[in-house]
């Protein structure tokens, strides 16, 4: 349990607090990905702005060259990714086998998502020469999730070692 939690006097803080936070973060993640999917499909009216650096149209618009991987919109990949992360963190409470492997699975999933986001952000900065603030919000959510997942894996491994020693 983190010291700041103890300092706040929070009692009964769940041992897998990192997983709960990841689950919580998946909700705004889903919302951002859904917004970007609507944007990609042209369901949201928008305009190009004078600032060349903040333009979701160039990044995720219907005609943006890097907004799809083949026929699959990147935003849809994000939406599915967040949904899988949310389901995994929820199902692990009910499915013991999943619970046993959940630290590795969540680190793997969020790690892949982190690398994917890193690649997309690099594309925005160095190839497209424009950024979409919603993509950056998604990248920030994924980064926090990945850090939390590593923290969970470390605490889980520590518990396992402790149990083995006992």
């Amino acid at each position: 349990m983190p010291l700041w939690v103890l300092a706040m006097g929070v009692r009964n803080w769940p041992e897998d607090w990192q997983i709960r936070l990841i689950q919580l973060l998946a909700v705004p993640g889903l919302m951002v990905a859904f917004y970007l999917l609507l944007y990609h499909n042209g369901n949201l009216i928008d305009a190009c702005t004078a600032s060349s650096w903040d333009d979701c149209g160039k990044v995720s618009g219907p005609d943006a060259p890097y907004s799809s991987i083949g026929p699959i919109p990147v935003a849809l990949i994000g939406l599915v990714g967040y949904a899988v992360i949310f389901l995994l963190t929820w199902l692990k409470d009910w499915w013991l086998l999943l619970d046993d492997y959940s630290p590795e699975l969540i680190v793997g999933l969020t790690g892949f998502a982190f690398l994917f986001s890193l690649g997309l952000t690099a594309l925005e900065l160095f190839v497209i020469n424009a950024i979409c603030r919603f993509c950056l919000v998604s990248a920030a959510i994924i980064t926090i999730m990945f850090v939390l997942a590593i923290s969970y894996l470390r605490s889980f491994s520590g518990e396992a070692i402790g149990e083995a020693a006992d």
């Binding site: 009216i45 305009a47 190009c48 943006a64």
Partner: protein
Amino acid sequence: MAKGSEDAPVTIVEVSDYGCNHCKNFNVETAGLIEDLYVKPGQVKWVVMPYALGPQTAPAATAALCAAEQDRFFEYHRRLFDTQGDPDFMSAASFRQVAEDSGLDLEAFNACLQDNDYNNTVQENIMAATALGVNSTPTFFVNDMMIRGNQPLTSFQQQINAIVGVSDGG
């Protein structure tokens, strides 16, 4: 650059950037409908103001003005949006290709491009649009009413009908 009746009760000014995908979408999805429903019957005069959000797209606006010299502005305008997404769509070679496809006199067009005849006009358009509060594209002025973004046909219809209704009644 204008088309439609000089006596039309409604004037719509379109401020577009040739590198803007929303401007392209508007021209593909809505501009033709407005032309058929309102410009051809004489209710709307359509004016396009070649504009650029930044220096990268200013040459395209200049090229469009070169096409206007040969009275082929609207043909060139539409075709220029079609090239959006091509890797070299902001190059002189691409502008010339669009000119050829639009049936322009290439010699005259090339001379106009090389002489940068309309650089100042584009800059004046940018300053005029900025003074009117334009900071994104597409932006439209339906008479005095500003409409921002790639709006659907119904948004224009509401404005046009309101103006025409007032004109008829008054």
